[in-house]
Structures are given as C-alpha cells and as structure tokens.
C-alpha cells in the first residue's frame, strides 16, 4: 500500500461561500482514510499558495473576478483531472444572480448605496481583483472532467464522488446520490 504513490490533490475556492470546503471537512474521520490515498498540496485548508503539478484539482465557486479566472486556468494547467465542486462552480448559483444587472449598478449598490455606508467609494486599488462583467460557471471557462453538485454537496455526496473517481469510475448520479442544494 505504502509503495503505491499517493494521488496528489489541490483545491481552490473562487467566488463562493467556502461552504463546499466546509462540507469537505465534514468528511470527519473519513479524512484520515482519504489522506492514506491522497496527498493534499495547495488548498485553502493547507494554506499552500502556489498550485504545483497535481493529479486532481478541485474547484469551488464561480468565476467572478480576473483573479478567479487566473487561479482556475492555473489549476487547469497543473492538474490532470479537474472536478467542479458545488452549485456555484456548476451553475453560477448565487454569485451569478448579479448577471441580471449592470456591473456598475451592482458595485455602486455594494460600495456606495448600502444603507450603512456614509461616504462610499468605488474600489480602485490595483491589488483588488477586478470583477468580470459576467459571473460564469467554471466549465464555461475551462474544460471540466467531473461534477459534484450541491449547495453545498453533502459530505456523503463528496465521499461517494471521490471514492468513485479514485476507483477510476465516473459517479453515477441519480435522485438518491445528489441534489442541487
């Protein structure tokens, strides 16, 4: 067992609430079992910033900013299999609700018109990632190999999908194994 090289995994969160990663941590003691099979590299959980070359990349969240897009493209370039985790990555979900409005209106609502804002200002520091005009699900930007839907996906759903993928199978989704919320 120990001779077999571990599968290297990197994860990242884009425009989302980090709930999918929390759900991932809900694997609880199964994380120990998982750590026997995989090695976590860059991830919000490990706090490693640079994505190295990995076997599996897992992405949570929709593509909302130029930084999101950069991380996503880096992940795609560095990984062999890319997994889209959660509804934001799959459909755009809540972050994509702003697609119904003009970007300037959305930013103005957030930074200037908010009820608690006294003197508002549009963010213009070059360090701050720039918002894209349209929020997109990740598979509209790069090729995605597998999906784990849910908002967030249950720990059981994540476990089922990961074990199926690690066994070299495509998850067979039906009404018992997944949900959109």
């Amino acid at each position: 067992m120990s001779d077999k090289p571990k599968i290297r995994v990197a994860t990242a969160w884009l425009g989302g609430c980090s709930g999918c990663h929390m759900s991932f941590l809900d694997l609880d003691e199964r994380l120990i079992e998982l750590s026997k099979l995989v090695e976590f590299t860059a991830s919000p959980i490990t706090d490693v910033k640079e994505i190295p070359e990995v076997d599996v990349g897992i992405i949570e969240g929709a593509v909302c900013t130029d930084e999101n897009e950069h991380v996503l493209r880096t992940m795609r370039a560095q990984c062999k299999v890319l997994i889209s985790l959660g509804d934001c990555a799959m459909t755009g979900n809540i972050p994509a609700l702003r697609n119904q409005f003009k970007l300037e209106d959305v930013v103005a609502r957030g930074f200037i018109e908010t009820e608690s804002t006294q003197i508002g200002e549009m963010p213009n520091d070059p360090v701050v990632p720039r918002l894209l005009v349209r929020v997109r699900p990740i598979h509209e930007v790069v090729k995605v190999d597998a999906y784990i839907p849910g908002c967030p996906p249950d720990a059981d759903t994540i476990w089922y999908a990961l074990t199926e993928l690690l066994a070299g199978r495509v998850p067979n989704w039906d009404e018992r194994t997944f949900s959109y919320d």
């Binding site: 119904q100 699900p137 598979h139 839907p149 989704w173 949900s179």
Partner: protein, 606 residues
C-alpha cells in the same frame, strides 16, 4: 354509448392494451410504464410543449411527444432508451439554462419541484449550454400567491388550468422567442387583475417554484408533511381538501383530486381564507369580570353556566346555532332542545325557505354537469360558491351550455350569459325571449339562491318552471338550492328552526340566558350584531354564552366565552347542497382548550 375499440401496442417490449383514441402516454401509464413529463397534467388538454415525454416509433427516425400522439394499433414504441434519455437530458439542460433556476432558495426546493426531480432522475450534474441569466421580474402583488418568472419553464399548466378548470382565462403567454412569458390579463399583475378569482389552481398546477403560495413558502417541504383529506366547510358545495400539516400547523391546503364533488378544484375561500388569513383564536373558556374576560377552566365555566341556568325556567333560555355546525352537533342540538325555551339557527336574509330545500346533483348523470342549459336565479355563485361558478363557466365555455342569469346584483358570471336580467324589471316580451332561448334545451338545471325566495323571485321561478315544463320532451330541471350557510340544509332537517330575523326572535319572550354556538364562523358570529337592535337586546339578557373559535365583537358582548374547534380540528360529517354526507377529518389537534361543538353541547347538559 358505444364502447371504444381496444387496440394493442408494444411499448418497451411490453404488450399493452388500450382504447382507440388514447395517447401513447395514457396507455403507457395505465400499463405502469414510466414516461417522464413536465407540461402534461391529467384532466388538462395535452400541449406537447416540454418534450420530456418523447418516444420513438419503430420505423420512424423522429421522436414524438407521447402526451399528444394517439396510439396506433399494432405499433411498437420505445419509451426509455439511451438515445431518449440523452435527448431528455438535453431538453432539461435547455430549460435550466434558459432562466434563473437557483434551487437553494426556491420555495419548492427539496422534492416539491418536478423540474428538479427530472434533473436528478436524468443525472443532470451540469448544463452544457451557456446560461442566459435573463433579468426577469416577479409579481408579488397577488393576495395569496406570487409569480416568479425566473423559475417558469413555460409549460402552460397554469394557463390551461385557469382556462379549462376555473374557466376565467386570466393567464396566457405573450411575447416571442426568449421573451416569451406567462402574462396576467393584458399584461397586468395579479393584484390589478380584473378576472383572477385567486382560486390558486395555477399554483397547484405549477411544476416548479414559479407560482407559489406566499403563506406556505419556506414553511416546510410538502414531502415531509402529513397529508390529510377532509371537506371544506366554507360553503355548502362541500369540496374535498388535501391539507398538509407539520408540527401541528397547516403548511398548505390543496384541492383533493379524489373528491367527487370538486375533483381537486377549490375557490379562494377554501384554498386560502381558512388558513392563510390570520385570525385571533379563542383558546380557552373565559368568564367576564368587571374589567375584562378572564380565562377559567372548563369546569369553572360549565359550573357557572349550571349555576345561572339553575335559577331560571327553561322558557327563559334559548339556544342559537350557526349553520356551520356538523351533523353530529346538529343531532346534539336536537337532543338537548327540550331544555331550552327555543332553539334556532341563524341564516342569511331570505334563506329560511332555502334551508328546507332538497338538493340537486352537481356531478354524474342528470346533474348540473350534464345540463345543456343552466339558469341562475337570485344567486351569485362566483362570490359565494366559487367551485360551482367554475362548473357553470365550464359548462358554458366548453360544452356550449346556455346560461340564463336572473339576478338582483351583477356578477362576473354575467359576461358568459345568453340572457342576463334583473329580476325586478321583467316584461312580457322578455319571457318570449327566454322561451326562445330554452327551445331546444333537453336537460336544464336551475340554480337558485336567496333572492329567488323573495316575492318577485318566487314569481320569476314559477314562471321559469312553467316554461321548462311546457315541453314534454325535456327532462325535469335539476334544482340546485344555494344557501350560503355551510350545513343549513342538514341542521334544518334535524329540526332546528332557521331564523332570518334574530331581533324579533329574541324579543318575543324575555330571555335571561342565551347560548350562541357561532362555531368557526370566520367573523366569530359578529354578523349577528349587524342586524338592527340585536346588540341592545343582547345587553338586556342576563347571561350570553358565546361558543366560538375566533375573537370578535360578539365575544365582547358575551358573559361567558367557550372555545370551539375550527374546521381543521373537527371530525364528523356535513351535508352538501346535493344532499351528500361528506366526512370531516381532524387535521390538527384542537388549539389550547378548544373542543368540538357537539362535545361542548353534550357537556352543557350532562
């Protein structure tokens, strides 16, 4: 009637027998072969718009919607294979990508949404078409329900149910291509609609969260609720209710499609007013002190009633009941009647005579449903008996039945009528027109309400019956009385005298004790006080006991208040205008100390 010819078809390798004229979907469903659907709904016309129910016909390269394709004898169909599953998934992906179907905050999320269910069933873990994210409005202006265009899949189930079942055609679709959407009237809102009756049939028919009941949204998923069938007690039509409850509260009320009376349809009163309108409940017995009504135990309240009555002669006491009480409560009233000086049931103006009438059938042979002419005399069913009004509209719009309305007040049924006239201004020439209109009618039905019992109403009615009976080839008219009191026919039949004018009834002999059973009257029985001088007469009575579910001006006039169970907490039976005995099933335990009317009346005298 000629029996339809049997045909045999093969669906997914299974030999299936059906009737000629049936669709492939109908035969498959009858033979337990599942075909997914979205825009199809039993009882409505087939539309074939969603393309979920597509099937293959052997020898043809095309796929066809099985809901709109009549089965052909000897044909082989394929309803479930990889190609069809793939096509259905693509259809679903198109539906999901077209609008903003954001499941996590949808009122029908988690099992109540047919679109979501189909997504799961077809393993749709991603959408390969680009999402359009259109900016779409919501209409929250309706009193009881809202329309969210973001979640609409344009299946038109709401449009068809509005047209074909409620018969008002408030909803339709407008605009083209991706701008295509459901509209209300000529692009109005529910709040501003002239035609919407708020029956909520569109909400019940909606497969997604596009139309939802405001009071039920986010209050519990229906598939985790208990569902109980009971009977609506808002009017004497007696529609079936399917009530969803969770943790001792009502989550949502729908029509019961197993009901022979209403077949799943309801009006705004039955569907919403009984639970979506907040009312102040009376939850425990109370006795008036100098300052206010003070909560007491049942024992104390009953002891006080016994004490007061012990000092009185039976002739100084009276019992006045609501026409909403159950048959069981009516029997209890009859049993204890001898202990009171007089017993009466308060009914609306001119309804005394209606309360003694025999009912006519609404469904089946020789009923309103098979009538080729319906005469409405002195009633406004669209206001008071919504489901009956829907039946009348359908008879006119779908079966081309004639409709003659003789009214004292205008109503929205008038627009469908062949002849519509005010009963107080009829001339001789007019009757020739009525005779002419009814010339070829074979199966007339006469629906009559309180205004038919006025002197002029009676004259008009006898004239109408004379015209109807003048042609011997005609069936005898089906007579449907329309009292407004839920159970007034049965309560009157149990021997309780209907009282229109309460003031003279109270005034004939000096009373010291009056027991009013207001039951679960929505106004708590307060309409009694609308009659002139009733309030003053009640003040003269030493002890007024009010047995009611809701706080009102009447409870303010009472010395003792007893908490009565509401429709949702009662078991028993009521009799509808057809004379059918319909069962009530308690869907909730009684609130607080509330008890059923029959039990309170029995406890009073034991």
């Amino acid at each position: 009637m000629i029996a339809p010819k049997h045909i045999t078809v093969t669906i997914d390798g299974q030999k299936c027998v059906g009737d000629e004229g049936q669709t492939v979907l109908q035969i498959a469903t009858a033979n337990r072969i599942y075909i997914p659907t979205l825009c199809y709904l039993k009882h409505l016309s087939s539309w074939g718009g969603c393309r979920m129910c597509i099937v293959e016909i052997a020898g043809s390269p095309k796929v066809v919607p099985s809901c709109a394709t009549p089965a052909v004898n000897g044909t082989t169909y394929s309803a479930n294979n990889d190609r069809l599953r793939q096509l259905r998934r693509l259809t679903l992906e198109l539906l999901f990508s077209e609008r903003n179907h954001v499941c996590p905050f949808c009122p029908t999320n988690h099992g109540d949404c047919e679109l979501q269910q189909q997504g799961y069933r077809h393993g749709m873990d991603s959408v390969r078409y680009p999402y359009l994210y259109p900016a779409l409005p919501m209409d929250m202006s309706g009193k009881y329900f809202a329309l969210d265009h973001n979640r609409c899949i344009l299946c038109t189930r709401c449009v068809r149910v509005c047209d074909e079942i409620e018969g008002v055609h408030t909803l339709d679709v407008a605009f083209r291509g991706e701008k295509n959407r459901v509209i209300i009237d000529l692009n109005a809102t529910f709040g501003a609609s002239d035609t919407c009756t708020s029956c909520g049939a569109c909400v019940a028919a909606c497969p997604t969260g596009a139309l939802f009941d405001k009071a039920a949204a986010f209050r519990g998923k229906l598939n985790t609720c208990q569902a109980v069938r009971t009977t609506c007690t808002e009017c004497p039509v007696g529609c079936g209710l399917l009530v969803f409850t969770k943790e001792n509260r009502i989550v949502e009320v729908f029509g019961d499609d197993k009901s022979d009376v209403s077949r799943g349809h309801l009006c705004a009163r039955g569907r919403y007013e009984t639970w979506a309108v907040p009312r102040e409940r009376i939850a425990q017995p109370m006795i008036r002190t100098i300052h206010a009504l003070k909560p007491v135990s049942w024992q104390q309240a009953l002891r006080e009633i016994t004490r007061v009555r012990g000092k009185l002669d039976a002739t100084q006491t009276a019992l006045l009941v609501s026409p909403r009480i159950t048959n069981e409560a009516a029997k209890a009233v009859a049993r204890i009647a001898a202990r009171f000086g007089k017993v009466g049931m308060f009914v609306a103006r001119d309804e005394t005579a209606l309360s003694g009438a025999d009912g006519g059938a609404l469904e089946g042979n020789n009923s309103l449903a098979s009538a080729d002419a319906i005469i409405v005399l002195g009633a406004q069913p669209s206001r008071t008996h919504g489901v009956l009004a829907a039946k009348i509209r359908n008879a006119v719009r779908r079966r081309r039945a004639k409709l003659l309305i003789f009214h004292a007040h205008k109503s929205d049924l008038d627009q469908h009528a062949d002849i519509c006239a005010n009963i107080v201004s009829l001339e001789h020439v007019f009757w020739d027109r009525v005779t002419e209109a009814l010339k070829d009618v074979k199966r007339p039905a006469l629906v009559y309400g309180a205004a038919a019992m006025t002197p002029i109403g009676v004259t008009v009615m006898s004239r109408l019956i004379q015209i109807l009976e003048s042609n011997p080839s005609r069936h005898a008219p089906v007579l449907v009385p329309l009292p407004t009191g839920t159970n007034s026919l049965a309560v009157a039949a149990a021997g309780v005298e209907p009282i229109e004018d309460v003031a003279p009834w109270l005034d004939t002999q000096p009373l010291q004790y009056l027991h009013i059973v207001a039951s679960d009257e929505p106004d708590g029985g307060a309409r009694l006080l609308e009659e002139k001088s009733v309030r003053a007469l009640l003040e003269q009575i030493d002890c007024v006991v009010v047995q009611t579910s809701y706080q009102s001006e009447l409870t303010e006039a009472a010395r003792i208040v007893l908490p009565a169970a509401t429709w949702s907490e009662k078991s028993g039976t009521v009799t509808n205008i057809e004379g059918r005995e319909l069962a009530l099933h308690a869907v909730l335990p009684p609130r607080g100390e509330a008890r059923e009317d029959a039990k309170i009346l029995e406890a009073l005298t034991s």
